[in-house]
Every structure is written in structure tokens, then in C-alpha cells.
Symmetry: C2
Subunit: 396 residues, 2 copies
């Protein structure tokens, strides 16, 4: 066998608990758990999973030492192209002190002022940090530029590091358009969209009081769709509103936040294929009420769990932390939270090559320093991710 | 200068934010913050702290790269000498499934069955995990043996790894004494105390309905004190009770948990020198109501923050996680939470050589991958500790 003909095969064996997310494998649960398992990798793909004793012969062998192996986390919602720091704003909020916070505007000003190199260095740093914590697929957005040039460069930088790039020119109405938001919507759906679409897969809008209303959001997402981008939407985070139902109506891949939902919103999500992406880091860092994952799951909605990593409202890059919060405060079982942070994230990105460990899937996986996936909730805050493999290569 | 005469000196410089916990230094706050700072270490001690530009000449120089430096965390409450696993009990509790949980008894049975080597290997593993997260001083307890021999061996094992060893024969009444708790108290205050006292500095009791009442707790702590041990106490965790006031009456070093407090309890703590040690990991992992740190701080009580790391109710070894919870859910500012996890823990162990970075203190410190200590709360769940020095030696 020549290496030019076939990639070398590697078996990771002595896995106490393997999460495949394939119900046809293992115990038949949604996580498709296999005990005393092995995974065989060839090139960048999984080619076999099952019980260790039945694993086929391979070129190389790695002993997982009785640890758990999971699909790499799929973080389908982050905002990582930014500059500046909002430590003092956070500190004042948590200390009950007055502070004239500029919010997103503070980050917009710093991001516009930063060089391309500074923005890319920041992105690379946060992606490396996320990778060390087990995230092997990440979506990231623009939204701190809010000019044609600044949005386009943010997306161009992001596209050098991930396929999952989202155009969020409609994050807020920037101060320069405060008197004429309609003109800003025109820019976002016109010249800015033209400049940004080549770098992005997705279009997103922050549909919320003080940002964009339902009609504006519909116009923006529809324009993006006409330009080949698929909609996703920041919906119902701070208050009830039209975002979730609009997301389902437009067949958006995901409605993100979903903190304030009417029964009609839940019914809409259950009737379509739009994923509800919950972002507990935001509720944690703003002391807000938690989204009710249990209600969504009981209604049959597909739920994803992501970090919302951004310097204002949720500066965590830790998917394990979000899993622990979801179990403690959002009514998810440990199994459900792990599924939502892997297969759920993949569904929110309409991907079936990641978020699972079955033959044909990408060999993106993590090894926990613990015998089961439940330890991600059982041992909150502890950095348990001890190895990360991406496309068949160990990177951590 | 010969190395046999004087230890080599090292300066850690380019520190964006230095937490000294010495109000006579820096900004005069309780944290004694120095910006653009340096720390000089000689042997195992800090010999100088101040602004970088004024640092004295040293043999070696380490560049902190604009990061924050803090005293190593002082985790004054953990239960790390145990065997066995309670993953399924946790999973069932968080999933709303019935499970015939044995609670502490499950761990007692597994611990009694384990070899000395197994117990020590577990302890070493958890201490290393805590060290990687910045904990340089840790207290740990017996309490899963509950026989003379099993308690004594747990303490002897612990004493090989830390000076802060606590005899907790009075954790629960073991099943073999269920019919005669008075006989168990007699054992704990008699033969077991004699066997355990040589290995321990502290005596502790779980004063709670279903464990030991006020009279039993008083008898146990008084006997321990007569044998040279200093009292500390698990008090008012699950319900109101006599524990906190008993702790103050006996001048215990710390009353731990303090979740259910009357005004008289708070007044008692404010009147004495007993530290209130809060353990938010326990409330997190049992979905219990949070202790009110704000109320204690406003009354002038000294508050410590620790992990309670144990396999049943709080299996986190992460002090940073506890800081983030204390800020989010217990009314502490980021500054207060950082103080409580360093100087507060030291106060709960009646130590003044750790928990601060001023001349004469032990050179136990951590370097954060962030410019300020506030990031421990601002970036929850992210493993930010990038270096740990203990007794002047870099260990992580």
C-alpha cells in the first residue's frame, strides 16, 4: 500500500464512552452511545466506529486510556472579529456601578479603528482558545464594522479561518444612521450586501426593539436570500417579538437566543425545520432569565447550544461551560445538552459531515479527561478536554 | 554572591494588573492593585512588589506579556480523599429520573474498599488538576472512611500533600451506627480522634438535620480543640440551624456553606473572627438557592470562596468557576470574589503567608491569559490560568 494511494488508518481504542450521535449505533439513544469503543480514522474521515473488540486492523493505534470521546463541538453562533475591550463595562454592570456604556457601539468604534492584522490576530487567538476547549467547527459573524468596507473586510478575514461566515451588517443601526434607519437598511440590502456576499454563507439580523423590527428584518433576510445567502436570525432575546416566526416563515437555518417565546413561537418552531439555538452565556453574563430548553424539547423543536462569544454580553468561548449551564438552569439533561452542542450545532449550520462520529463523518473529535460525556455537566468549570482531533489530525 | 548564601532572584515584569491583596500597596483598595507592575521573588518568597519601572536588579527576568498576576488561589474547603464515582446519581438528579442514591454512603463504601495507593493516586490527580487552574494552597478532609482506621489513613495520605488537613469523622453517622448515633459521637471524640489528631490541623463537623445536631457538634469540636485541633464547621447549608452561631461561639476558623442564615447568624459572624466560606459549586450542582454574599459583606463579615470539591454535591475543582458564579448569582463584585478566593481563603485557614503578594509572602502566584483579574468573571468557563508558580518555582 502506497501512501499516495490510501491515507494511513488510525484506530483510537480503549474509549470508555463514545458519543456517535448516530441512533443506529450503540445503545440506540439519540447520542448513539457505544461503551468500550473504538473509532477508525482514514485521512480526514471516520471510516468505522463500534466496540473495541471488533475494530478492524489499522496502521496506527492510539489508546484513549478509558476516557470518553465525543464529536468536536459545533459552535454555530459567535462574534469573533472585533477589537477593543469592554472589561470596565462588565465590571460596572456586575458591581452595580453607573457606567456610560456604549454597548455594541464601543466595539464598533474599536473595530473600525483596528488594522486588518489586529482583527485577524484576535480572531486567531479566540479560535485557538475555542479549539483547546473542543470546538472544531465554528461560525462567526461580522457586525462590528457597519460600513461597506468594514463589514466586507471582517467577513474576508473570517473566511480565511472558517467556512461558516455570517454577514451581520444588520447588528445595530450605527450612530451615523441614527436619524435615518431606512437608509441604513437600504445600504445593508444594497451596496453592503454586494460587497459582503462573496465572503459569506449566511445572512443574519438582530431583530429586537432598538435594533431592527420585523419588517426590516424580513427585507434584509429576503435580500440576502436573493443574493444566495441563507438566513439565520437573532430572535426574541430581550423581549417577545416577531423574529422567531419570521425565521420559520423564511426557513431560516436557525433562530438564535429564543429567550422570550409565546406558545405560537414554540408551535412555529416545532412545525418547521428552523433550529432553536440557545446561548446561555448571554443570560449568564447579563444576569438575564434563562431560555426554557425543556419547553422547546418537549414540543419537538431541534435545539442547538452555542457560546455567542462576544466581548459585550457573553465573553465565553467555552462550550463545556454552556453545557453545564444548560443542564443546571435550562432543564436539559446532560445527554440532551451534549447532543445540542454537537449534532444540534451541526443542524443549525445545515451540516451532516460534523457533529457526529459515524462512517463518512469528518474525523473531528475530542477526548475528555473523564470516562463519560456526563462529566461535562458533573464537573462544571473544569477544563476536561484533553485531546482535540480535527480532520483526522491531533491538534491539541 | 554565592548560591549557597542567597537564593537567585527573579523578577516577573510587564504585569498589566497585579493583585497584591495588600491595601498599603498600589491603588489602596482591598486588592491593592498595581498597574504596569513587577514582582521580585527570592527563593520561595516575594521580596518586592511595585511598578515595573522601579523594580530592583535581579538575576533572572520573566516577561508576563501584559497579563494579570494574582496570588495563587487558596481553596480552603475540599473533600479529595475518596474513591468511586457518582456520575449516575448526578445524571439521574439532573435528568429528573428516580435513582436510589446512597449519597455520601456510596462514597464511604467505595473509599473503604479502595487501597491506599488508589486513594493517593486520586488525590494526586485532583490536586494536579486544581494546580493547573491556579490553586496553590488547598485544604482537604477525611469523612469518607468513618472507621478509626479508614479516617486515620485518609488523613495520613492527605498530610503527605498539604499542611491543611481536616479531620471530619463527623461527616455523617455511618450505617453501622444508625441505631446508636451517640456511640458514634463517642468514637469520633475518643478513639478515632486519638488516631486522627496526629495527622490533622483542623476538626470539622457536618452540623445539619440528618447529620449532627448542635449539641453533638459542640461535643465533637470541643473534644477536638482539647486535642489541639482548631474547629471549622459545615453550617447552615441545607436549612437554618445552630451551626453558624456555634462556630462563632467556639471561635472556629470558618463556618462553611452559610446558605440559610438568620439575622442573628449574620450578626454573630460580624461580631467574631470566624470567616464565612461560601461554596457555590454545591448550589450549582444541586440546583439549590444561592448563599447571599452581599448580605454578609454589607454586614462586615469576612467571606471566603472555595470549591467544596467532592464527588457528590460539587465535583468542580475550579476556583475561577466559583468566582464567576459568585459574581453572577451571589451579589459579589469581581474584586470581592477574587479577594475571597485568595485572601479570604487564607483567612479561613488563619494563614498570612499565602493569599497575598507582598514582601514576605510565599511566592505562590498565577498568571492569567488576560490583562486583568476581572476577566475571571468576564470570561466564565474559559481556562485563563496560563502559569502557576508555587514557592517561587514555576509548576504550570
Amino acid at each position: 500500500m502506497s501512501s499516495t494511494e490510501t491515507a494511513a488508518s488510525t484506530v483510537i481504542t480503549n474509549i470508555a464512552t463514545l458519543v456517535t450521535n448516530d441512533p443506529s449505533l450503540g445503545d440506540g439513544s439519540p447520542l448513539g452511545l457505544v461503551r468500550d469503543a473504538a473509532v477508525v480514522i482514514e485521512g480526514d474521515r471516520v471510516v468505522w466506529t463500534g466496540e473495541s473488540s471488533k475494530a478492524p486492523a489499522t496502521d496506527n493505534r492510539v489508546d484513549a486510556g478509558g476516557r470518553a470521546v465525543l464529536p468536536g463541538f459545533v459552535d454555530s453562533h459567535s462574534h469573533l472579529v472585533f477589537a477593543g475591550d469592554r472589561t470596565e463595562e462588565f465590571n460596572a454592570r456586575m458591581s452595580g456601578r453607573a457606567y456610560s456604556a456604549g454597548g455594541i457601539r464601543t466595539t464598533v468604534a474599536a473595530t473600525r479603528a483596528a488594522s486588518d492584522g489586529e482583527l485577524e490576530a484576535g480572531l486567531v487567538r479566540y479560535l485557538a482558545e475555542a479549539l483547546r476547549q473542543g470546538t472544531t467547527t465554528f461560525e462567526t459573524k461580522s457586525g462590528y464594522g457597519l460600513t461597506v468596507a468594514d463589514e466586507a473586510r471582517a467577513l474576508a478575514i473570517a473566511a480565511r479561518h472558517t467556512d461558516e461566515v455570517t454577514y451581520l451588517g444588520a447588528h445595530i443601526v450605527p450612530p451615523d444612521y441614527a436619524e435615518d434607519p431606512a437608509a441604513y437598511v437600504e445600504l445593508v440590502t444594497g451596496e453592503m450586501l454586494e460587497a459582503c456576499a462573496p465572503h459569506a454563507r449566511w445572512i443574519d439580523v438582530f431583530c429586537e426593539k432598538g435594533a431592527f423590527d420585523g419588517d426590516q428584518a424580513r427585507a434584509i433576510l429576503t435580500a440576502g436570500r436573493a443574493r444566495g445567502l441563507t438566513p439565520r436570525i437573532h430572535a426574541n432575546q430581550l423581549s417577545y417579538g416577531p423574529g422567531v416566526q419570521l425565521a420559520v416563515e423564511l426557513d431560516a437555518a436557525s433562530a438564535d437566543h429564543c429567550t422570550h417565546l409565546t406558545d405560537a413561537d414554540v408551535d412555529a418552531l416545532a412545525s418547521g425545520r428552523t433550529v432553536a439555538t440557545l446561548l446561555p452565556g448571554a443570560e449568564f453574563s447579563t444576569r438575564a432569565a434563562w431560555p426554557d430548553a425543556r419547553r422547546l424539547l418537549d414540543a419537538g423543536v431541534t435545539v442547538a447550544l452555542s457560546t455567542d462569544c462576544n466581548p459585550g454580553s457573553s465573553f465565553t468561548s467555552s462550550v463545556p461551560f454552556c453545557i453545564a449551564l444548560a443542564v443546571r438552569d435550562m432543564g436539559m439533561t446532560p445527554d440532551e445538552a451534549v447532543w445540542s452542542a454537537t449534532a444540534g450545532g451541526a443542524a443549525a449550520l445545515r451540516r451532516d459531515d460534523v457533529g457526529r462520529l459515524a462512517p463518512g463523518a469528518r474525523a473531528d473529535l475530542l477526548v475528555l479527561d473523564a470516562p463519560s460525556h456526563v462529566h461535562l455537566a458533573y464537573r462544571p468549570g473544569v477544563p476536561l478536554v484533553s485531546q482535540v482531533w480535527r480532520r483526522g489530525v491531533r491538534e491539541v
